[in-house]
Point group: C2
Chain length 377, copies 2
């Protein structure tokens, strides 16, 4: 298998926003890119074939979920996550940390790692940096995320500093673990909305990076309940100070508005469950803003969800049909809504990339925002 | 639009089983054929594209459900059911009678029709022969079913005779209703498991048929709770006495075993919710009999559901993956299971047809039954 490549920047100007790409054993990732989330070995509601048509550059798999069920050893026996779920493109796996801290119960954190009980059956498990790396090696993902301690949304400064120090020590242990040849490791920066803490943590990461470079850097611990302005200010001030020769991944983000803002700050990769989760509730993302397909005004509408969208759902079905399916509780509603929301989100980052390559990104961003805000979808 | 064609028999031998075809405005229907059920304007769990790949000759739409929601007038405005749901092949719609008698509450039956309350919101509605025809004309289906009174599974003989007489009078009113030019009308024969009542009812139908021919005949009121032997005896004795120049449709049947037996008796068309409903419960139909994908023995199985099956699910995914998806409650499990069960059932009738055309049907039927019964799937 081919090695992970360095990040290539295709556009260099005075702004932090940029288009770029890097190679993995399962294909090239063109950025900026939004990664659909395949929590349990499937992007909820769509087949791998439908996903190919949606066209994401990379998808995300969850270490916590897959490690518990069906188990990473089983997936390894089946040739890794790509083959198990029939996704031939690049896969990034998270570290499992976020889910251990948000989903499981009876957590006990020590220097060694986190003891926790499964949210499925209450069974006892232990997630250490080494175990996180082992699971991700078994899954065979292209991008492996280092295990970080995920501090609560608004931790006090002194507690956060203690947590950051542990995350750095854990990063050393992750770095020492032998991954698969084709796998690249991303380090995660924490620090909440304290810019100085983030910069300080980044210095520690870069010391380690100087010995053996990471393939990317992730911004963790944002979009976890803090006011949007604080998140945006942190992104604005922080992302441009990262080494620009590696991709920057903003974890767990987000809304179309967040993606556009993130791209403006120089973020290259995003992931979020929002498009599929919203789809399952009938809430659809469009070039003219959000709409709820349950709304009675769509009952007799011959319009597609979004006339600007070229996805299967929008090129085939009317709002009236989708309204009917959703009201009738049909499975197909969930699939068609998910196809659209994923297509819209992936398409937004693809269009942003094209605008960057053609040196018209500020204009693209302004028009996109105007369209979201000025017309009823 | 082209007219409905007469039924062409391709195989004529001493057995009642046969292969045939008839043309509709939306394509040719090759028989024997199993029709997947699209109750509410969607075959549950699959997209129209996936359905094209599954390859049914015709699908079924429900007059009762679609008349109530979203309403047949709305579907007419959208160009009919074919365009509304994006199914370009032939569609048969039932009369709505069976659902009125089985799903709705507070029914009041009169000579004029049936007053009932919607199972959705309790609203009051009236289904008469004319209203059933009107709904089906608005839906624009290729095959329209006459409205029959659906007697309870095991009605006494004298009550059944009264019901049959009314069904005949209703058939006259259905026949008098002006349908769309492309639409063909099937008459429904009732009579429970009383052969003489069925034959007598059929005589009444044929009197009407002599004036203006029906495009097909349906056997109703079987598989509604009577012992399987009685249903089979009725089919055996009755179907061969039908006019053989029209397709014979056995309504609401059934299991793979029922399909094979029905074909042997000369049945040409079948419909049933069984493949998709079973799929949603993890129960899968295979050439070696049934299996339940939830079963722990599939947990590490690298086998497809059915090595004989060429559907998307079987050519792409292992039982281990499908077991995992089902256990994890993923939507994709329902879709992939439905694709398989529909492919298996449609494929069974397709294979039976091929065997009939090649004059090896008895051998095919024997082998099929042997495979169902001798090996663990």
């Amino acid at each position: 298998m081919s090695q992970f490549s360095r990040f290539h920047t295709e556009i260099q100007n005075d702004e932090p926003s940029r288009a770029g790409y890097f190679h993995t054993a399962h294909g090239t990732v063109h950025t900026p890119a939004f990664m659909p989330v395949g929590t349990q070995g499937t992007v909820k509601g769509v087949t791998p074939r439908q996903l190919v048509e949606i066209g994401p550059q990379m998808i995300l798999g969850n270490t916590y979920h897959l490690g518990l069920r069906p188990g990473d050893e089983l997936i390894r026996k089946f040739g890794g996550l790509h083959r198990f779920m029939d996704w031939k493109g690049p896969i990034l796996t998270d570290s499992g940390g976020f889910q251990v801290f948000s989903l499981s119960s009876l957590r006990k954190i020590s220097e060694e790692g986190v003891a926790f009980q499964s949210h499925i059956d209450g069974s006892s498990h232990f997630l250490s940096p080494e175990r996180s790396m082992e699971i991700q090696r078994n899954l065979g993902s292209d991008v492996v995320m280092a295990l970080d301690e995920c501090p609560a949304g608004r931790l006090e400064r002194d507690k956060l500093e203690i947590s950051l120090a542990r995350t750095t020590r854990w990063l050393h242990r992750c770095r020492d673990f032998p991954l698969g040849e084709h796998q690249g490791l991303f380090a995660i920066n924490q620090g909440g909305t304290y810019l100085d803490l983030r910069l300080n943590h980044m210095e520690q990461i870069l010391e380690l990076d100087a010995r053996k470079p990471f393939q990317g850097f992730a911004v963790g611990g944002l979009s976890v309940g803090e006011p949007k302005e604080e998140m945006n200010a942190t992104l604005h001030d922080f992302v441009r100070q990262l080494p620009r020769d590696r991709p920057c991944y903003l974890m767990g983000v987000g809304t179309p508005e967040d993606l556009l803002f993130g791209i403006e700050q120089g973020v290259d990769l995003f992931d979020c469950v929002l498009p599929t989760r919203e789809a399952r509730h009938g809430r659809l993302l469009t070039s003219r803003g959000r709409l709820n397909i349950k709304n009675a005004r769509h009952r007799e509408s011959a319009e597609p969800i979004d006339p600007e969208c070229s996805c299967y759902t929008c090129t085939t079905f009317t709002r009236a049909y989708l309204h009917h399916l959703f009201r009738a509780g049909e499975l197909l509603a969930l699939t068609l809504n998910s196809i659209h929301n994923l297509s819209y989100t992936v398409g937004l980052t693809r269009a942003a990339r094209q605008a960057l390559l053609e040196n018209r990104f500020p204009d693209f961003a302004r028009r996109t925002r105007d369209n979201w805000n000025t017309e009823e979808p």
